[in-house]
Symmetry: C2
Subunit: 409 residues, 2 copies
């Protein structure tokens, strides 16, 4: 289906998710297709931050750890993330960064498979996933193996844990969580799913897939703000045996007994390390609540239709200018993004931004467009496709002024 | 010197730091002696948070990583912390939690002493410092040794790194940084100083003491807010050889090249791991700027006089009720806190809080009073001493209603 002014307007008018746009603040004149890098600002967030600062911190001071339940924030927000990813509320906790949580879970998985040391991932996975494994390898605790062929076929009895992004950050391709999890478990390996480009974008079925471990990002589709706390999931059947290598005081069974010796909290709180980042958690909680209130099923249905409409429109409107579609054609096989390859991708992306269409560039030659259906509509997708087509037709990127690449994922 | 209404008023009137009180928002009627657990709210923080949320995130969106220099925040704020701790601006970075930074630096130090595995600390050190060493021990990378006697005498050629709190969290006692550092280095060991109760409270002379490594907390005397990002210091002579075991993408030499292989940033940025927590960093930056503007020398002079005036006043006004002073008598040998031991310490602390004097309890029997000289005056200290004396004289703690202990450090 190719978008036209009329069809886009009709689709927006019939969109059950369209009203959610009002729950976000976006600058006028901007079409924001980078919510897969930094989600937009929920309308309720500034007031919540002011309340946490002025009332809870300024007035309540140290007492707010109890009175405002700061101390419960990581588990409380984890429980709100849980239904978005198919977990139960006791299996998810919000804390630290995705990278730090990767370390906790990979090292913890290695400790549960003491006779194995291979951590299997794939070339081109999001870099920090690979870098965190490298860190463990430098410590002598792991051996990084990049799957030489199809993932499931690369899992053998040396593999302790498989680390994969559920949705690929460049192409948007979705791994078959159930099949890979089953294949790994058949070889005695665990699987750690990075849900950074899944959570809040597509329904994730961790427990249906019998998942072991997962991490994910708070600042993309969950709209938790720049550098928001991330989350970690450990299947309930593993929690009692799971040792967090970053065994800080907040993961202790009784942090305020101030005992010299460590004893882990019985539940998912054992995944905590240092003092919870309350300002970041407050913003994350608003983001998670905003997305959860819209409903992941409705968001997913719009995601499938919206991304496909954009892709088809670009391919028709921008035909003949060297654009190559990348990633799965079937909407069920991809996340909430569309990617194209073009030799001038970097400059084209800059030209788009100069025209108010904020997409993203991924080295060396990928144009990546994230569609956060909570605040992007069909009319936006049409303008973005038209703008891209115009840039291609006029080679408008030739006059793009040099600017530094943006640090986005 | 015992405080009286007249002497306290005269001291406040002559206090060169008194005007700084206006840079903080504190609830009326409260005497806040727990700034060593959670520093007070700087007056400028709420507006700064609103600006980051509404302008930088909401308007600037992903572009703010460059336009608002979000990407530079960890090193920029580290450089502002540096003069408070006697470091140069290239040696300090703001990131993650104190606990996570302990892990990075202890593991990194072990890697620099590959023929040694002992991490030496002392019994009763702040628990998370010990727990993080335990985590490394469980991974098979370290052996935790608690000094059986005086620290310097306990360092031998098996010790890779000594981990000590510069100011003790309960007693306020200060370790001799120069002497212990020299003693450790004479045995080929490194020293990691935890500055959580030092930074912003007393002048720290890392480079004068030829320090190796340090971490510290952002939410105590630096007034960065609940769960603020912490900081890490690596002496410049060690940076090039220092391997961060949590080698996430933000510590990469070129994070946005998205290469499969890790290569550390040349400078202190190699201590980074995940995406910087921008909301928390923004609040921390205000806190650090506020404290730095007052000046650590002036704060330190007031600290010495104020804590001593409080201690002497309590000992006289509250004499005969079982209160035992804990910690160094010489102000130069302690941090910005005063501690007493009492068998009913927990209940006394609750009775104080009920009367608007917010001190702290540390198990099993310690009353701890933190004096943040930036916003606590002599008149406050007098009222706190009088209130404590009155509670002791009337055994007013007998009617304290049970409430959960507060999660404070």
């Amino acid at each position: 289906m190719i978008l036209t002014s009329a069809s886009a307007a009709a689709l927006d008018a019939a969109d059950p998710v369209a009203a959610a746009r009002e729950h976000f603040i976006l600058p006028p004149g901007v079409i924001y297709l980078d919510g897969n890098s930094l989600g937009a600002l929920p309308r309720a967030t500034p007031a919540r931050l002011a309340d946490v600062a002025v009332q809870e911190w300024g007035e309540g001071l140290i007492g707010s750890w109890n009175a405002a339940d700061w101390i419960g924030a990581p588990a409380r927000i984890g429980a709100k993330i849980a239904p978005l990813i198919g977990a139960n509320p006791r299996e998810v906790i919000a804390a630290d960064s995705t990278s730090v949580n990767l370390f906790k879970l990979i090292a913890g998985a290695l400790a549960m498979r003491p006779d194995r040391r291979v951590v299997l991932s794939e070339p081109g996975n999001f870099p920090t996933d690979l870098y965190m494994i490298e860190g463990l390898a430098r410590m002598g605790l792991a051996e990084l193996r990049l799957a030489p062929e199809e993932i499931a076929a690369s899992i053998d009895e040396q593999v302790a844990v498989v680390v994969l992004s559920h949705v690929h950050y460049k192409t948007g391709a979705v791994h078959d969580m159930a099949a890979i999890t089953a294949a790994a478990q058949a070889k005695g390996a665990m699987v750690l799913w990075d849900l950074s480009h899944s959570a809040g974008a597509i329904p994730v079925m961790l427990n249906v897939c019998n998942a072991d471990l997962a991490v994910g990002c708070g600042y993309k589709y969950l709209c938790g703000g720049p550098g928001a706390p991330a989350f970690a999931y450990v299947a309930e059947r593993h929690i009692a045996a799971f040792a967090n290598p970053l065994s800080g005081w907040m993961g202790h069974a009784a942090p305020f007994a101030f005992a010299d010796g460590y004893a882990p909290a019985p539940g998912i709180e054992r995944l905590l390390c240092g003092t919870p980042a309350i300002l970041g958690l407050a913003a994350l909680e608003v983001g998670v609540e905003t997305i959860a209130a819209i409903g992941i099923t409705a968001l997913d249905a719009k995601r499938a239709a919206l991304t496909e409409a954009f892709a088809q429109s670009v391919l028709v409107l921008g035909a003949g200018h060297g654009l190559e579609r990348v990633g799965p054609r079937d909407p069920a096989q991809r996340g909430s993004q569309i990617a194209f390859r073009h030799s001038e991708a970097w400059a084209i992306n800059r030209a788009l931004i100069a025209r108010g269409v904020i997409g993203d560039f991924r080295a060396p030659d990928i144009l990546r467009f994230g569609f956060a259906p909570a605040y992007v509509g069909y009319g936006n997708a049409l303008i973005a496709a038209q703008t891209l087509a115009e840039i291609l037709a006029t080679k408008a990127w030739d006059c793009v002024e040099f600017r530094e690449r943006l640090p986005v994922t």
